[in-house]
């Protein structure tokens, strides 16, 4: 092929390929849907625990008696009976109330760990659990950096209990039950990109009020739920040592090496066995005795 021919050919190929590429990109853009999430502004929370009640009522879980149970006296965790709890922390800036539930990670450890896709990252963003698939191995609980999935240990047919961001309500076009119930606009539901803009706007316009960090922007590769705070996050019960690497990345190297081993090792062993066999043949043909 001479140079002239080469240019003609490449130009033709390029002309054929480029519009096609654009077309594909357009399609991808149309199909792509943004993950939803919730922004929690802890400076606005008054600790009324309406979200706890609304959540449990919506999903048939234990409804706490918020008038009399004095639950804020101690730090609680979500449990196999409640998807979400509100805790009170005494900080350098006074009492701060923090809601806790599944963070709905962008690349969730529990989803990557699950061998039957029972833990599932829906295309809308919520991480859901499917009881028809789950084996109950509880490795999602091992993997989750926030210790969110909870098992019903005292049941013959245990469920894994965790917030699913009211996935069924989202399907009906409603907002999560806790967001609906919040009287102070602490919780704001929307697409993460919009929520990030709002969160940044609040931090920039009130630089004295907030710490300059949005928890969930980068943590464990980004989460669906975002938190704003007036005090450093370690003071209000967040782990700040989790890093920004998405958790599935930790097993990626291992998984990549699997096909290499799966095909490389048998080939090597077959060859090796063939070699060891030949040696014996040679020895025998040359009349050497074994041993």
């Amino acid at each position: 092929m001479d140079r002239r021919q080469f240019f003609i050919t490449s130009a033709t190929v390029a002309a054929g390929v480029i519009p096609n590429n654009n077309l594909k990109a357009d399609n991808a853009r149309k199909e792509s849907k943004e993950f939803v999430g919730v922004l929690v502004d802890t400076t606005r929370c008054i600790g009324c625990r309406s979200c706890e009640v609304a959540c449990s009522a919506a999903w048939g879980n234990f409804v706490p008696d918020i008038e009399t149970d004095n639950a804020l006296e101690k730090i609680r965790d979500t449990s196999d009976k409640q998807y979400t709890v509100v805790n009170r922390f005494n900080t350098e800036k006074g009492e701060v109330f923090v809601k806790r539930q599944c963070m709905h990670c962008w690349q969730a450890a529990c989803v990557a760990m699950c061998l039957v896709n029972a833990m599932f990252k829906t295309k809308e963003g919520p991480v859901t659990w499917n009881g028809d698939k789950c084996l109950g191995c509880r490795f999602c609980m091992v993997a989750c950096p926030f210790d969110i999935p909870k098992a019903e240990y005292l049941s013959w047919n245990p469920r894994i209990m965790k917030c699913h961001m009211c996935y069924e309500r989202l399907q009906e076009g409603k907002r999560p039950a806790c967001v609906e119930a919040c009287p102070t606009d602490t919780l704001m539901f929307g697409q993460k990109r919009e929520l990030m803009e709002i969160a940044r706007h609040r931090v920039y316009s009130h630089p004295d009020k907030y710490v300059h960090q949005i928890y969930g922007e980068h943590e464990v590769g980004g989460t669906g739920w975002l938190y704003l705070s007036a005090v450093p996050f370690e003071q209000i019960g967040f782990r700040v040592d989790l890093g920004t690497t998405p958790y599935p990345e930790y097993t990626k190297n291992f998984l990549v090496s699997v096909p290499l081993v799966l095909f490389g090792v048998p080939a090597f062993l077959l060859g090796l066995s063939e070699l060891t066999d030949r040696k014996k043949e040679v020895r025998e043909s040359e009349g050497w005795t074994n041993e």
Binding site: D77, S79, D80, A109, A112, M113, C114, L115, V116, N117, A118, G131, D132, K133, C134, L135, G136, C137, R138, F139, M141, V142, A143, P145, D147, K150, A151, E152, Y153, L154, S155, W156, N157, P158, I160, R239, D241, L242, G243, Y247, P248, Y250, T251, N253, F254, L255, V258, V261, L262, V265, P266, L269, L270, L272, S273, T276, D277, K280
Partner: protein, 398 residues
Amino acid sequence: MNNAAVVTGEFNRVVRFAWQELKPRGKWLTPFNVISIPIILIGLVILYFRFVYGIGFVTNLNQYYPLGIWIGFDVVTGVALAGGAYVITFVVYVMRMDKYHSIVRVTVLNGLLAYVFYAGALTLDLGRPWHIVNPIIGNSFGYNSVLFLVSWHFLLYMLTMALEFSPVVAEWAQLEKARKFLAGLTLGAVIFGITLSILHQSGLGALFLMAKPKIHPLWYSEFIPIMFFVSSVYAGLSMIIFEGTISHKVFKDLLGGQDHHRYEEIVLGLGKGAAITMFVYYFFQALIFVHEQRWQLITDAWGYWYLFEIIGLVLVPCFMFAYAVRNRNLGIIKVASVLALLGIILNRLNVTVIAYRWYDIDKYYPSWQEIVVTLMVVSIEIWVFRWIVTRMPVLSKE
């Protein structure tokens, strides 16, 4: 027609033969039976409560310790100790070192039973064990999951080992044609089995890669899978030595005309293998120690615990093996193998249970029910092993 009659006749013969063989032999009030029968009975009662009232009813598991000794010891440790099967089949069928041929059958049987019972103990720990087929058949495959890979490899490796052991069963049932056919598949099965073993021995370690913030940094590194694989080699070798010692006492009369000198040579060879792999393992641990700058971590109780494991139960038995092989001292080899096994048990329990959430005040410790069920699993395995060994040509070839 005639053929069919022959096949039915043969089938009837095998069934009658198997029925005969099922009956117990010899005295049954042996010390082992006296201890193990109550354990098994109590274990079955505990399992009844476990399946009716839930796992939490009989175990100390909680929301922060989802895995107890049923996983940490039965499955993770049990599988490591069963590593001998793939090591020995590699040595005999791939490297063709005939010296070890006489221990292949018993080692593969041990491996097979270990997987059936210890990996089988997994079903006791599953919340919804009736969904266990989901990763195998159906449409719910978690391709990106290490656990998915491990579960498939458990299944395939059990089948592979059954295939490796099947000639013995055929020989026992006097099915000569089947034996020849099955024996022809051995090399393929061995190579497949070694590959699967490499992957799931390391895969068991890879399960804990995502528990990074929960495992003490002395036990967590990105190389857990490789460490699990390397240590399974010497775990398997030590287990063969350990089991061989017991078998030689208990099943003395079954061994028949086996030459004691040859057995000694085998144990020395295994000890040598264990010494070398343990040193490689230790060296790797030392590299990780330096690379991750762990000096500041070894000044507290966890650090001493780590040094106890790595020096006391890896380096010391490693040198004991080397010394014993040099001086042809079988006694020291046996002690070293016990130390090495303790080191493996400790390492696996450290990763899965002990150094898991080391920062907690309320640590998990196993309930007595968990321990009884574990002992039950081990007891039943020994029962089945004994049944097979006293009937099939496992320890000595006829």
